[in-house]
């Protein structure tokens, strides 16, 4: 039981090959095996959304995935969205609107919003709030996050 398995996974465009226990959660793989600590652990039962990443372009709760399941897959994490010196568009919108306080839930929101902007209707605040309702923030009360998404959705709409 529990033989280590080799997986090869692409994270933010870089390929990684590692031998891991099958039971290793994707959160722990990203954080401790690959040292990408931007994805955070809030609950390990799929409720809070802090661990959200993109798996083959769609948001997924990494605490509910085993790293072995991602063999051959493309993962995007918050580190791939931008850097300290060059924030990505979603990150910049959060900064402009003060959409984060402690920052712990923020990577999960950023990746969920990346999915939302690519794939979901965000025509009004109600739709935005519903789409965000799978991510818990305890600091902001959500209003500034909604403001940031509203701006991003408008931009997306203008591009169409």
């Amino acid at each position: 039981m529990n033989e280590r398995t080799e997986i090869t996974v692409s994270v933010n465009g870089l390929s990684y090959t590692r031998r891991i226990e099958p039971r290793m959660l994707l959160t722990d793989f990203l954080r401790h095996e690959l040292g990408l600590t931007g994805t955070h652990v809030g609950c390990e039962h799929g409720v809070c959304g802090a661990c959200t990443v993109l798996l083959d372009g769609r948001s997924a709760r990494s605490c509910l995935m085993l790293a072995v399941q991602t063999d051959g897959a493309d993962i995007e994490t918050v580190e791939g969205q931008g850097t300290v010196e060059n924030l990505g568009r979603i990150q910049q919108a959060f900064r402009d609107h003060h959409g984060l306080q402690c920052g712990f839930c923020t990577p999960g929101f950023v990746m969920t919003i990346a999915d939302m902007l690519r794939h979901h209707n965000l025509d009004n605040d109600e739709e935005i709030r519903e789409a965000l309702s799978g991510n818990i923030c305890r600091c902001t009360g959500y209003e500034h996050i909604v403001n940031a998404v509203r701006e991003l959705a408008k931009e997306r709409g203008a591009l169409k």
Partner: protein
């Protein structure tokens, strides 16, 4: 120390007052923040904890079974294995009839709540440690217990701490005048038993600890997700007999606290003990189940209150008997008095009230200790008082706004000493009430509600007005004789040889944006560029004594200390610049990093001054030369009153009883705002937690003392669809008399929101004669109240 004096700051664009984007953001957004679990020194071992599944029991035996055969397991400890390695922490106080329950890392002999740590497994991974836990069995001898505070206060209730002689270890009374007479003679009285149920902070980052023992220096470093690193350093220094320069506590990036990380935890002691014992870095990360069942809890107050008024709505007397559930231990350092005492001391609120008696008993029950949580006592007291105000208004047929207007302290009455001895220095009580009403156009809102009612919709309006003390100095202690000094804050500012400005503090930012706001203050006071300032915080090694960030203190005390230190450094900078530029020092002014002379067109940058002072020998005569540094400690001595009125409109589905908050306004007296974006964010976040307390959140223990709300699917915190847009009105009134003119405002939203919503729900249900007396007011509770009212009206 002088009051805020605007003439001391020249006329130029200021940083304070502007919506400056946060310095903290880039690293947090880019996913390169550094929280405790992100730090993994080589050789780190991981801890998993077996926690009690008994509410009260003697530990008869601990069996590890096959645990050591689990691959990766290194060591297993119970209390006896670590005996003698340290002393316990004792939350001392001078209060009468108080018992200071010692705090140990692991349960000794007895367990006193479900979730109390009993056995620690150390392994190469958390996975392996949890594997080992499954082999461990514990023989318990169950002991009787009283889980509900109302039962635990009984004289014959089973004792959680026999040495205490009672479960009631906190007992206080505040009084003024003769409230029994006032109530007996009053034309109108209203009363109720109000229950604010137990809550927990649910910071998104679970409590996380990493201890490292340096064998070379014999020094211990604890990385902790704490908001009180200085307090932890001081107490652990005593527990481990290590001097403060070999016992360091660092709070790196911390994922929220709201008070839940603002006390000493057994697990903090535990990782330190194990690090020293095993000579390896020891990491322990609570998981969410452990967070819900062992992080400090709060708000759990049972308040039996009665208010007397005259027919004109004037408050005549207030009587309160409160039982506070303080959990199984008196928490360190605040003691179990922290919350319950504030319930009865703040109960009279911002009102004119002569006759009062407020009694509190803090009682031990088998639950995690009650500790700080945003608002600390005031959410519960405001709930009770504001319900009474509304009930009285309804009884005498007065509009609730008018009722408050008649009783809120007016400007000419400041400073006002409340019946419990709190002094409101000055705050815009009346203006906040007016501001909230004006913002929503209160008369129009009332018409809107009445029209909706005629259509059969259950709509209600509710208000709450409250006041609190923030930025509290050394005169006021949450528990007399508690082992820490929360009244001072130190700022140590230095300009180095490169012209870089570093400002070190004892505060510990964990989401409040203090790296930004304190830099704004410094930029204005010192005259430097904001981006040249680095704010250091969250590290016990930075200043001689620090407590941290809590109790809405950091802007006032940290900002005050920053102001004082900046002024000293600025004086030194100008003196040096005056010499270097050959200008009279009175003619010099500093702004944006440049020192200019009004008398001529010469100027120098801070960098050039620093270079000259530090690195150019002989540029300044050696007897005049001073390092460009200062360290100042600020003590506002008293506290600053801060107030707000909240106004909520709710709608209740008349069939499902689901409650929706349709409108929400906060009018607050916030003093001088450093960063309006950050202030708004604090208000919104605090109101969201208040909405959670009012409608969703409840920690539940069943009659067997078992913890029921064991996941985030059971303990419900608000999500984006639960929180409306919040209107925020900043009332600009007289600034308080502290350096800077700041008010602390981090907690207010949580203080006012439960009461406003409780009143709004009661208003919506008033046609049915229902009064809300328990929070959260859930659809289930509304159903029960409606059924009871139906039965009653059938019987009548």
């Amino acid at each position: 120390m002088s009051a805020f004096d605007s003439s001391s700051v020249e006329m130029r664009p200021k940083m304070v007052g502007q919506r400056i984007k946060r310095t903290e953001d880039p690293r947090l957004l880019a996913g390169v923040g550094r929280y405790v679990d992100d730090i993994s020194p080589q050789g780190t071992l991981h801890v998993a904890i077996r926690r009690s599944d008994q509410p009260h029991a003697r530990i008869r035996g601990i069996h590890v079974g096959e645990a050591f055969t689990v691959p990766g397991v290194v060591a297993i400890f119970d209390a006896t294995d670590i005996e003698g390695d340290f002393k316990p922490a004792v939350p001392t106080s001078k209060m009468k009839n108080y018992y200071a329950t010692p705090i140990w890392p692991l349960a000794r002999g007895k367990v006193r709540y479900v979730g109390e740590p009993v056995v620690a497994v150390v392994a190469e991974s958390r996975y392996a440690a949890e594997d080992a836990l499954e082999h461990i069995s514990i023989d318990y001898e169950p002991l009787p217990f009283a889980i509900r505070q109302i039962d635990a206060v009984a004289d014959d209730a089973p004792l959680l701490h026999e040495e205490a002689g009672s479960n009631v270890i906190i007992s206080r009374e505040f009084k003024r005048g003769d409230v029994d007479k006032a109530i007996a003679e009053a034309p109108v009285t209203v009363k109720g038993v109000f229950r604010m149920t137990r809550k927990t902070a649910v910071a998104m980052e679970n409590r996380s600890y990493l201890a490292e023992w340096d064998k070379r220096r014999l020094a211990l470093t604890l990385h902790s997700s704490t908001n009180i690193p200085g307090v932890i350093r001081d107490v652990l220094s005593s527990c481990f007999d290590l001097p403060g320069n070999r016992m360091r506590v660092v709070a790196p990036d911390v994922g929220g606290s709201f008070g839940g990380k603002g006390s000493l935890y057994s697990e903090e002691m535990l990782v330190c003990v194990l690090a020293r014992k095993l000579g390896k870095p020891i990491k322990y990360i609570t998981d969410r189940l452990e967070d819900l069942s062992s992080t400090s809890q709060a708000f759990d107050e049972l308040m039996d209150v009665e208010l007397a008024v005259d027919r004109d709505g004037k408050l005549l007397g207030l009587r309160a008997d409160v039982i506070g559930d303080i959990g199984a231990y008196s928490i360190y350092p605040w003691t179990g008095a922290l919350e319950p005492v504030q319930v009865v001391s703040f109960l009279p609120g911002p009102y004119r009230l002569e006759h009062y008696r407020g009694r509190i008993r803090g009682v031990l029950t088998p639950k995690p200790p009650t500790g700080p949580y945003r608002g600390v006592g005031r959410p519960s007291s405001t709930f009770a008082m504001e319900r009474l105000i509304d009930m009285a208004a309804r009884k005498i047929g007065m509009d609730p706004v008018e009722m408050r207007r008649r009783n809120l302290i007016t400007a000419d009455e400041f400073p006002y000493r409340t019946a419990s001895g709190i002094i409101w220095d000055k705050s815009a009580f009346q203006e906040c009430l007016q501001g909230a009403c004006d913002h929503v156009d209160y008369p129009a809102l009332v018409r809107e509600r009445d029209k909706a009612r005629k259509e059969g919709r259950w709509v209600g309006i509710g208000l709450s007005s409250y006041a609190e003390l923030t930025g509290i100095g050394s005169r006021i202690s949450v528990a007399p004789g508690m082992p820490i000094n929360t009244g001072t804050e130190t700022s140590s500012i230095r300009i180095d040889a490169t012209g870089a400005i570093t400002a070190a503090f004892g505060i510990s930012s964990h989401g409040q944006g203090l790296e930004t706001t304190l830099a704004q203050v410094i930029a204005d006071e010192l005259g430097c560029k904001m981006e040249d300032v680095e704010v250091q915080h969250g590290d016990s090694a930075l200043v001689p004594m620090s407590t941290g960030t809590f109790a809405s203190r950091s802007a006032v005390l940290g900002g005050g200390a920053a102001t004082l230190a900046s002024r000293v450094v600025k004086t030194k900078v100008l003196k040096a610049a005056a010499y270097l530029m050959n200008q009279p020092v009175e003619e010099l002014e500093a702004a944006g990093g440049i020192i200019r002379s009004r008398a001529s067109n010469v100027s120098m940058t801070f960098k050039e001054v620093a270079n000259a002072v530090y690195s150019q020998m002989g540029s300044i005569p050696h007897e005049q030369r001073e390092d460009l540094v200062a360290s100042e400690t600020y003590d506002p001595y008293l506290g600053t009153a801060c107030s707000s009125t909240h106004l909520a409109m709710v709608e209740i589905d008349p069939e499902t009883y689901g409650v929706t908050v349709r409108r929400y306004v906060v009018a607050e007296d916030c003093g001088r705002i450093i960063n309006p974006m950050i202030v708004d964010g604090q208000v919104q976040g605090a109101v969201a937690q208040g909405i959670g307390a009012a409608l969703l959140e409840e920690i539940v223990y069943d009659d067997q003392g078992q913890f029921v709300t064991a996941s985030l699917a059971d303990y419900l915190v608000p999500v984006a669809t639960n929180v409306p847009q919040i209107g925020i009105v900043h009332i600009e009134a007289d600034l308080p008399n502290n350096i800077g003119g700041f008010r602390g405002m981090g907690e207010g939203g949580t203080i006012g929101a439960p009461a406003a919503i409780a009143n709004a729900v009661s208003d919506a249900l008033s046609p049915l004669g229902i009064e809300v007396d328990t929070l959260p007011v859930t659809p289930e509770r509304i159903f029960r109240m409606i059924e009871a009212a139906r039965v009653k009206s059938t019987a009548d």
